[in-house]
């Protein structure tokens, strides 16, 4: 067994884990903003799908991956606004309206793809950018410093998000309206405004996550996300509603998948155990959630619409 875990395998697993983690990480970070403000958006996967299609289509038409990312972001922004309108202004039942957004994104992205594209055509993908000097470090270089720019940006988004949530007045308002909106309201903090902003950030990041996924894969297909948006929601709990926790969760999820894939390639997992191995990511995630979730308290006002005087 020893020679199996060669340095090359380890490098491959880590690099693959990071790639798999990035879309989850971005979507999950976005969802964190929303949830910290008290809004649960179950429609993340739908927004990701439409963001993925928009990103794919823009790159297909222009050839420019950054325009694709922008298209994903814009679609996410509008769907974030729509989700805010439904959840915050209409005060819809969040567990249900989010599913509506998901189904909308699932159906609409496929419809647009069929009408506008039809047969899948590969597009340009994000170029890999080796970070000078660092990428030359043996082992660590190929693991961490030979990725595309979006990977670096996604990881940079973690400290930025932490900073926004903990150190800015906007972040403080988000935490306040997610925990005790009545108190924030009595001090003149706009509960609806803060939630709109947080939820729209969430939508935008979900759109970006979808765009990143499609442009990284260089292709679009019906249900391209394959439920990644729902895993992103679970990761918010797993990560205890903190960007850093979410990063570890996304990496863990990516790492388990990458490891299982690598073991299959190396044919270490006996064929008849392959099904079991396939369930490993799910099982480990559920176990981790069950263990971690015991110590985590969700924002007290999560899913609760706010009306002054109640």
């Amino acid at each position: 067994m020893g020679e199996v875990f060669t340095a090359a395998v380890l490098v491959a697993v880590v690099a693959s884990a990071i790639r798999l983690a990035v879309p989850l990480l971005l979507a999950s970070l976005g969802e964190t903003f929303g949830q910290r403000s008290g809004v649960l958006n179950l429609g993340v996967d739908g927004i990701m799908l439409l963001g993925a299609f928009a990103g794919y289509y823009a790159v297909l038409k222009t050839g420019n991956v950054w325009l694709g990312l922008l298209a994903g972001a814009i679609v996410g922004l509008f769907l974030g606004l729509a989700s805010s309108f439904i959840a915050v202004t209409l005060k819809a039942e969040q567990g249900i309206s989010g599913i509506g957004v998901y189904l909308f994104g699932l159906g609409m992205s496929d419809l647009l793809f069929q009408k506008l594209v039809g047969t899948p055509i590969p597009i340009n993908t994000f170029p890999k950018v080796d970070i000078p000097i660092l990428s030359d470090i043996p082992y660590l270089g190929p693991m961490f410093f030979q990725h595309s720019t979006v990977v670096y940006l996604a990881f940079a988004a973690i400290p930025v998000s932490t900073f926004i949530i903990n150190r800015t007045t906007f972040g403080m308002n988000i935490r306040a309206v997610g925990e005790y909106p009545e108190a924030a309201d009595t001090l003149g903090v706009s509960v609806a405004g803060t939630r709109w902003a947080a939820e729209t950030i969430g939508g935008t990041l979900a759109g970006i996550a979808g765009g990143v996924l499609a442009i990284s894969l260089g292709i679009f297909q019906q249900n391209l996300t394959n439920g990644a948006g729902f895993i992103a929601i679970a990761l918010v709990y797993f990560g205890a509603f903190t960007p850093l926790g979410i990063m570890w969760g996304a990496l863990l999820f990516g790492a388990i998948n990458a490891l299982v894939l690598e073991l299959k390639t190396l044919e270490i997992i006996p064929r008849d155990l392959s099904n079991l191995a396939a369930m490993a990511p799910a099982i480990i995630t559920i176990l981790a959630l069950a263990v971690v979730a015991r110590r985590i308290r969700a924002p007290a006002a999560l899913t609760k619409p706010f009306t002054r005087g109640h």
């Binding site: 150190r167 007045t169 935490r175 306040a176 925990e179 005790y180 108190a183 009595t186 001090l187 003149g188």
Partner: protein, 526 residues
């Protein structure tokens, strides 16, 4: 410093309707600089509604508000804050997961633009806390603070915004006597500065001690406005309720019977993993009320919960009516004859979303009287519920009203009605009248004394074998209100750090004596 001859605030002809309720009925109210103007009234009289209108939380249906002589529109708390109005709510408006400084700075413009300026805020908080004697750590997270400390945060919040008119809606309801004294010192400093205070409380001695003027509301309308000079507890109570109120209930001497509740060497852990009840012993006889006095947080809550079977003990025994119920499930303990009125009315005593009749039925729902092969017998249930509503004077629009929308006093009556309808051998009542108005408190007190004297043992009533007093209820009453303790108890046990410091006779003991014991100091004769 301020011109004290013209009012800061004038509210004229304020009317506010909620569906089915006239919460404020053409109310006139004003506040002058440097005065404490108290609002007094029964639960549901409309006190909170009036001040919430002032704070921009509800729009008034009619009437106008003038601040410094100018008509203002108060559409949101932001408007109110801009006009120098600050409010300390009946329920704390603090975000538990934020620090003191964060809570204070919420909603304010930061000197650092988009970034928080907690350092500057903390410095100002320390300045204010020095000036007004409000001891606080700005970096502490609010959920870790005691109730008294949270209140200080609320006051600092208002002062930080330079409130000239401060509303205090039942600020003392959850404070210990010492904390109340401390609060009053601070409040007097505020009026010395020329600020105006609106004070709401059900505790008449506090009202008399603090107020300059008193306005009494009944069913939304002003029924009187008097200066504090010449007012007495009795006169205020009469104005509130509209009839003479007995503030100290009459009671006959107890005739204690056999021991019905016996607690021996009880040790219980608190939520934070430290010992809360520490080898406690007590016994209560049928036909007597044992009052447990003490500052909150000395194990009262854990003691009551353990007796009711809601918390596990580490060691020791509990007997109800001679049956060992240590560690038994709540249902079993109830079957042994225990009834329980918990401290947290809305969290443990009643289910807010359930209707009045459902709450009245919570314990008995499976009795054959109300249930036939899995289905409720609505006729019998409604009849029984209406009986209880009538006998316990529960003021509710209907049996179908959700319990959460009733006033505190009426919720407490629902709980009492439910618990007493089972004719218990032992009744454990925690803070039975906290936050409850005088009329309702009077009623609850009378009910407790009646229960002490009532025959509850059905077997006895038929067989008439034992002495009369052996058929009455034993009552363990836990309270932080010394008036209540002295007014009702036949014996007073003082609890301190989970132990009984001593048991005194309320007829002979003094408040000072009990107060010292509450602080952990034993007097020689105790």
């Amino acid at each position: 410093m301020t011109d004290r001859s013209s009012p800061i605030l004038e509210m004229k002809g304020i009317t506010k309707r909620f569906p089915g309720v006239l919460a404020n009925d053409n109310v006139d109210f004003d506040v002058y600089p440097g005065e404490v103007h108290t609002l007094l009234g029964e639960n549901g009289a409309g006190k909170s509604t009036l001040v919430k209108i002032l704070y921009g939380l509800y729009p008034a249906d009619e009437g106008e508000v003038l601040i410094d002589g100018e008509v203002v529109s108060l559409d949101s708390p932001t408007d109110a804050i801009e006009h120098g109005v600050g409010m300390i709510h009946q329920h704390f408006m603090l975000v538990p997961t934020l620090t003191v400084a964060e809570n204070v700075s919420l909603g304010l413009k930061s000197s650092r633009g988009a970034l928080t300026d907690l350092k500057a805020v903390s410095e100002r908080i320390l300045e204010l806390s020095n000036e007004y004697g409000l001891d606080l750590d700005p970096s502490a997270v609010v959920w870790q603070l005691s109730v008294g400390e949270r209140q200080r945060v609320e006051i600092i919040k208002a002062l930080y915004r330079d409130a000239r008119l401060l509303i205090l809606d039942e600020p003392t309801a959850v404070l210990t006597p010492q904390e109340v004294d401390q609060l009053f010192v601070t409040l007097r400093k505020l009026t010395d500065d020329g600020r105006g205070l609106i004070f709401i409380s059900h505790k008449l001695h506090e009202v008399l001690a603090l107020s300059t003027r008193i306005t009494v509301l009944r069913r939304g309308a002003v029924t009187g406005q008097i200066p504090v000079e010449g007012a007495t507890r009795e006169s205020l109570a009469n104005m509130m309720v509209g009839r003479a109120v007995k503030l100290t209930p009459d009671k006959l001497p107890a005739e204690p019977g056999e021991i019905a509740l016996k607690v021996q060497d009880l040790i219980v852990m608190g939520d934070r993993g430290v010992i809360a009840v520490d080898g406690l012993n007590l016994s209560v006889r049928r036909g007597e009320i044992l009052g447990i006095a003490g500052v909150s947080g000395n194990g009262q809550r854990e003691l009551a919960e353990t007796i009711a079977g809601l918390r596990q003990s580490e060691s020791g025994t509990i007997e109800v009516a001679g049956i060992d119920v240590t560690g038994a499930r709540p249902r079993k303990i109830r079957d042994a004859g225990l009834a329980y009125v918990p401290e947290e009315r809305m969290r443990e005593g009643a289910i807010g979303d359930f209707t009045v009749w459902e709450n009245l039925l919570l314990i008995d729902y499976s009795s054959p009287e109300y249930l036939r092969s899995g289905f409720f017998k609505f006729g019998a249930i409604k009849e029984h519920s209406q009986d209880l509503v009538d006998t316990f004077d529960i003021r509710t629009p209907s049996l179908e009203t959700s319990c959460g929308s009733l006033s505190g006093g009426n919720i407490q009556k629902v709980i009492m009605a439910r618990e007493l309808s089972s004719s218990p051998t032992v009744l454990v009542a925690s803070q039975p009248t906290r936050g409850v108005d005088i009329g309702a408190a009077e009623y609850i007190h009378r009910r407790l004394i009646d229960t002490r004297n009532e025959l509850t043992d059905a077997e006895f009533i038929h067989a008439k074998l034992i002495e009369h007093r052996n058929a009455c209820t034993a009552i363990l009453m836990i309270s932080e209100d010394l008036d209540e303790i002295f007014g009702l108890s036949d014996r007073v046990a003082v609890i301190y750090e989970g132990k009984i410091m001593g048991i005194v006779d309320p007829e002979t003991a003094t408040r000072e004596e009990v107060g010292l014991m509450m602080a952990g100091i034993t007097t020689t004769n105790a």
